[in-house]
Structures are given as C-alpha cells and as structure tokens.
Amino acid sequence: MRRWVSPIAIIVIWQLLCMGGFIDPRTMAAPSDIAQTAVGLIKDGTLGAETLVSLQRVVLGLVIGGFIGLSLAVVAGLSRIGDDAIDPPMQMLRTLPHLGLISLFITWFGLGETPKVTLIAMGACFPLYLNTLGGIRGIDRKVLEAARSMHLTHRQQIRHVVIPGALPQTLTGLRQSLGIAWLSLIVAETIPTDAGLGHLINEAREFLQVDVIVVGLAVYAALGLTTDAIVRHLERKALAWRA
C-alpha cells in the first residue's frame, strides 16, 4: 500500500546512513541492530508479555477515560448550563501534568493498578472531550433544526445527528486519546510494576540500555501505526457518506 512507502523509505535511508558510517552507532543504533535486539526480546518472551500487560492497562484506561470524555462533551455541547459547569473544570484539569500527579495518586490510590489506570484514563479523556465538544459545536445547525422539526427526542437527536455529525472530529480525538493513553502508560508505569512496556523503557533508561529504549520506542511507533490503521478503518466506514 502507498502508505507504507514513506515509513519504509525512512528506515532504509537510516540503515544506509548507519552502514555508511554517517551516523555514530552510539548516537543512534541502526535499524538492523534494533531489529536484532527486538528479536532477542521477542524470543525470550519479554517483549510480548510486557506489551500485553500494558495493552490491558491502556484498553481499560481508554475505555473509562473515553467514556467519561464523550459523555461530558455531549452534556457540555448540548446545554448552556452543562457547558458552564463542565467546561471550566475540564480546562483546568486537562493541563495537570502526569508527572506532578504521581505523588498524589500514590497517596490516594496506592501502588496497584488503580493509579496507573486512572492516570491513563485521565490522559485519554481530554482529547475525546475537546474534540467531541468541538465537533458538536461545529454541527450544521440547519441539519439539527431539521431533526427538531421532525420531533425527534433529545436522545434520538443525539443518536441521529449529534453523534454522526461530531463523529469525524471525535475520531480525530480518538486518535489522540489512543496516543495519549500510550504516552501516559510510560508515566503510569513509573509507579511500581513488574511488567509493562513503559516499565521496560523506564528500566532500560535506568540501566542505560539504549538499544532496549529504542526497541521500546519502535514498538510505540508500531502501535501508533496500528491504532492509526484501526481508526482509519473506522473512519472509512463512518464517513462513507462523504464520498
């Protein structure tokens, strides 16, 4: 597919630069070396297991955070009072940095899964909230009026106009929420855990294993492409009407 051309080109050029000696291997390992490390980590089961553990956390956080973000956006997007009550605290909360919250979260939620999933949920919540809210505000009022003129109930209007109308932007939000969920993971996994992709990277940092760090980052990039492919698929289905 055409979309693979450019990532593959980048990797090939990078490999050639490394082989040609233009990139110091201490500055940046070559793709082949990274692949080798990756194969090692996959073979001894580390990478798969770590990713799986993280995946669970991310999915759970994403579901919780996404649900909250979506619901709040619908309420804020559709009523003046909802907007006034919900939006300002959301605008305050969304800037709170994860790193700063960790101490507080440990105090409140301990060291188990709760603070980790909460952190991920918090991260995932806001892009969906902001984008869905923007999407709702951008819905063509004429179409919304048409739905009102058909005497659709609130719920029906949400189902048939608000959700499909805001959907393109919600999907942009979903993309970002997915991204942020994985980003939050690495912070969340500084809270003690004995497994997880973020944990792998954090540990590698502590022990100066640059190759492992890069493998971890490569997995992140691959996850980025995968989630992107999933969201693209959703988009194609959901936005067929634009064709």
Binding site: T27, S103, I106, G110, F207, L208
Partner: protein, 315 residues
C-alpha cells in the same frame, strides 16, 4: 550542547601542548544539595581558573545517562549507579571516592509497625529505588537475615514517591538513604530497623567521561576540580553545622533533618584502590545474583587512580 566526542575544550591546548585553563569549561553534573552546594559552602569555588558549568540532575541514573552521552564531563553519584553504567559498557571512569560509612543506608518501617528486624520483612512489601545504594543495602540485609530478595515484594520507587507510599501505608518498609532516612524518621515517624553500617560501603564517587579524560585540557581542569571536591568533603566533616544549614537551604528540607543526616554520616576521602574495587565488585556480583543486573562483569576497568595524588595525597 556538547554531544558526541567533543569536550568543547580542545581549543584550550596550544601547539606546545600547554593548557590555558582560562579557556576551559568543565561541565559538571550535580544533584540537589550535591557538589556545587558543598564546594560553595567550603569556599572552594572562589578562585577557580577555569569555568564550571553546572547541570543539576534529579538523581544518579539520569546523571550517568548524560555522562554516557558525553553531555557532561564529570559528576558525583552514589556507590551503585556506576555499576549499572559499567554493566552497560558505558564510556565512563570512576576517578575519585569518599565514604560516608554505611550508616546512611537504612531500612525503615512505620512507627507502629510490628516488624522489628529484617527477618520480619519476609513476605512484606518494601519500597526501594532500584539500582540505588539502598537497593544494595536491602539485598545485603536480606541475605544477612537469611532471606532472598524474592522473599519480599519490591516496589521500585524514587524517594519522593516512596515517601508518599510509605506515608499512606501502601508499603510495609522502605529501604532508603540520607537525607531521606532522617526525613522519614522526623516527618513520617519512621523507625530504622537496620542500617548499613556493617554491610554497606557508603561510597560516593566522582565519575568522569572517557572523552573528558582523553582531552588534556579537560583532564587538567578535572584534576583541580577533584582536589577541590576532596577538600570540601573534608571541610564538611569538620563544619557539620554549617554544612547542614546549606544543605537544608538547598533541598528545602528542615535543618533538623539535614543536621541529623550529617551527624549520622562521617565522611572520609578514600583513594581509588583495590579495597574500593573489591567492595564494588562484591556489590555487582550480588546484583547479578539477584537478577538486577544481567550478567557478571569486571568492574576494575572502570576505575582509574590517576587522581589519587591530588585528592588524597596517596599514589
């Protein structure tokens, strides 16, 4: 920045190989209340011929990360971080040492805890920053008490987060170093069930990057810098109260905490010699045995004694 192989000081050497120190900038990695505070308090920064650029890190591992990347020339860390760097074949050398004795490294439990000694930790949850000196102390203490590392549930936490977890009762014990030991005692009412006086070596090291050592200009500045460090360490032992005050100011801890910490730890400058190397090798082996480090390796190549004369007067 100064990534890669350059130290940025190559221009300070003239054609005859003579070094013009006034053209040298020594980039030093520091930690809160570390070398800079100590040198300043001891008046060792007043007449330096070269420039010192301070880079403050949150803890030892990121400092070593920067050393590894060649972003700094030298930095002070505890006794374990260099082992992890060495295991990663990082291009670094340990160039100066001092010991506080092992008393700073301790295992603490909450005041009302039923745990009375190390053997009571069996099956309990212990907070520790993996790869720290307290981590080794915990290993050693457990071994001494006939327990394995796997007999406790380890929670890898940096000091601040560990204090939060300890405070909120999410862990049963905490293996930690000064000044956090004193902070835990005074703020969280912790009590020490074991300190490292018998088992931990209490070393602190100055670690330099190989690129810095290979550059004559940087090396010359380094030599001077290390001697100042050694003098300041001696000073801190003779001026405990002054040092505690400065330290408190720097870290935002209360003066009571830092004074207690200073009093507990008697610093002594040591030469880099076989004693030091053996002690560190023992620690490394212990980490390997407990799978905190991947494979056995020799620590000796990571030590050099070139600066012993200027720091301890010994050769």
């Amino acid at each position: 920045g100064c990534g890669g192989d350059a130290t940025g000081n190559e221009g300070a050497v003239d054609d005859n190989g003579k070094v013009d120190l006034s053209k040298v900038t020594l980039i030093v990695g520091d930690q809160k209340g570390g070398s800079k505070a100590l040198l300043q308090a001891a008046g060792q920064l007043d007449d330096v011929d070269y420039e010192i650029e301070w880079k403050e890190f949150t803890s030892g591992p990121p400092l070593l990360e920067a050393l590894n990347a060649g972003a700094i020339h030298v930095g002070g860390v505890g006794n374990t971080p260099p082992l992890f760097a060495a295991a990663a074949q990082s291009p670094i050398k340990i160039v100066q040492g001092a010991t506080y004795g092992g008393t700073g490294d301790a295992i603490v439990v909450p005041s009302g805890s039923p745990i009375k000694d190390v053997s009571g930790l069996n099956g309990k949850t212990v907070a520790v920053a993996e790869g720290s000196s307290a981590n080794y102390n915990l290993l050693a203490q457990l071994e001494e008490a006939g327990l394995k590392y796997s007999d406790v549930t380890v929670k890898n936490l940096q000091p601040g987060d560990a204090l939060a977890a300890f405070d909120a009762g999410h862990v049963d014990a905490w293996a930690i170093w000064e000044p956090f030991t004193s902070q835990a005692e005074q703020e969280a009412g912790a009590k020490v069930i074991a300190d490292g006086s018998e088992l931990a070596n209490g070393y602190v090291f100055q670690v330099a990057s190989e690129t810095g050592l290979e550059d004559p200009a940087t090396k010359e500045a380094l030599q001077d810098y290390l001697s100042r460090i050694a003098r300041a360490q001696v000073w801190s032992q003779t001026h405990q109260e002054d040092w505690a005050k400065v330290w408190a100011q720097e870290t935002g801890l209360s003066a009571d905490i830092t004074l207690a910490a200073v009093k507990k730890r008697k610093i002594q400058v040591v030469p880099i010699d076989q004693t030091v190397i053996d002690s560190e090798q023992e620690m490394a082996d212990s980490f390997v045995a407990n799978k905190l480090l991947p494979e056995e390796f020799d620590v000796a190549p990571f030590f050099i004694d070139d600066f012993n004369a200027s720091t301890t007067g010994e050769q």
